[in-house]
Symmetry: C2
Subunit: 198 residues, 2 copies
C-alpha cells in the first residue's frame, strides 16, 4: 500500500498498527484515522501499552505474567502445592482459571518444543520446572493438542516419571456443544479411546 500521501507520523502509525497479527494495511488505516478522531482513546491506549510493558513481568516461579513477583497464584495458601498444571502460554492459565475447577498451581512453558523452528527445552522454562518439583505429587499436562504439544508432553513425562511424579494429561474428545458429524477423525478416535463408564 502506498502511504506517500499521508503525513509521516500518520504513515508511521498505520505501519505500527499493521504489524499487529491479523491487522492488514486497510484495517490499520481505518484504526489510525479512528485514533486521530478520538485522541482520548488514543492516548489512553498508548499509556496502557507503556504501562503494561513496564509493569508486567514473568513470575520467577511459574513464568506466568504478573505484576508482583512471585505471582498471586504461586503465593496463595489456598492452592494445592502438590498439584502442578503445565501450559504453553499465559493466556492458557487465564482460560483454565475461568473454569474455577483447578485448585493447583501452574507452570508456563512459553512455547513448545519445535525442532523446525529451532525451539528446544533450553528456549522454554524446563529448567525452572525441574527446580520446583519438591513436594509435587501430580503434574497435569494441558498443552495444545498439536504435534508439537504432544511431543513436548511426552518429552516432559519422560523427565518427570523417573522421579516418581504422577503425570496426567487433560482429556481430548468432542468439545461440549460440538457435533459428531463435523468432528475430525483424530478427535473422534481420541474420544472413543477415552470413553468412560456411564
Amino acid at each position: 500500500m502506498d502511504f506517500l500521501n499521508y503525513p509521516q507520523p500518520l504513515a508511521d502509525l498505520i505501519s505500527g498498527l499493521s504489524r499487529l497479527p491479523g491487522i492488514g494495511p486497510k484495517t490499520a488505516g481505518r484504526l489510525a484515522f479512528y485514533l486521530l478522531q478520538q485522541p482520548q482513546i488514543a492516548e489512553s491506549l498508548a499509556d496502557a501499552i507503556h504501562n503494561a510493558m513496564e509493569n508486567i513481568k514473568e513470575c520467577s516461579i511459574c513464568s506466568n505474567y504478573t505484576e508482583q513477583d512471585p505471582c498471586p497464584i504461586c503465593t496463595s495458601e489456598k492452592r494445592d502445592s502438590s498439584l502442578l498444571c503445565i501450559v504453553e502460554q499465559p493466556r492458557d492459565v487465564a482460560a483454565l482459571e475461568k473454569t474455577r475447577e483447578f485448585k493447583g498451581r501452574y507452570h508456563v512453558l512459553h512455547g513448545v518444543i519445535s525442532p523446525l523452528e529451532g525451539i528446544g527445552p533450553e528456549q522454554l522454562t524446563v529448567s525452572q520446572l525441574l527446580n520446583r518439583l519438591e513436594g509435587i505429587k501430580e503434574v497435569v499436562m494441558a498443552l495444545n493438542p498439536t504435534v508439537e504439544g504432544e511431543a513436548t508432553s511426552i518429552y516432559l513425562s519422560k523427565l518427570l516419571k523417573p522421579i516418581g511424579i504422577k503425570v496426567t494429561r487433560i482429556a481430548h474428545g468432542l468439545p461440549v456443544g460440538g457435533d459428531l458429524e463435523y468432528a475430525d477423525e483424530v478427535t473422534i478416535a481420541r474420544a472413543l479411546e477415552g470413553r468412560r463408564l456411564l
Copy 2:
C-alpha cells in the same frame, strides 16, 4: 468477559485495545498477549500513537490532516487553485490522491450533515469553505453516496451556485470490475441515468 484473572496493567491493555472499532474482547486479548511477547513492536506502536497525536493537526485552509500548516497540497504551486474537491474525511483525500487524476485542491468537511446525530453545518468546516471561495471556478462534490452525503451535497450546492461557482458531482454507477447481476437497483438506475455516448 472476565478480566479478573489478569494482572491490572494487562486488563487495562486489553480494555484499551477493545475500544478500537471492529476489535472485540477476544481479539483484544490476543493482541495484548502478542504485544507482551513483542515488546519492541509494542513500544514502537505506543510511540507512534503519541507522535501522531502530537504532530498531526488539521490544515487551517482545507482541514486535511497534516504535519505542516498549511498542508503541502494547499501550498503546492502545481495545483489548480480554481478547482476544489469536497470530501467527508481525510482518508477520502488519500483515496483520491492515489488515482493521481485530480489536479485541484481539497476541502475536508469532517463529516456530513445529519440531523439525527445533531450534526449541522456548524459542526462541519462549512464556514472555512465559504471563506476560501475567491478564485474558485468549479467545486467537485465527492461525498459518499449515502442519504446524508446526498443531502449535504445539495445543501452546499445551494450555497455555492448563487455565487456563480460551477458545482459538479463525481459519477455514480457500476464499480469497475463489478458485476451487473449483484449491483443494487439504485446503483443501476444511477448508471443508466449517467450513461454516455460511446
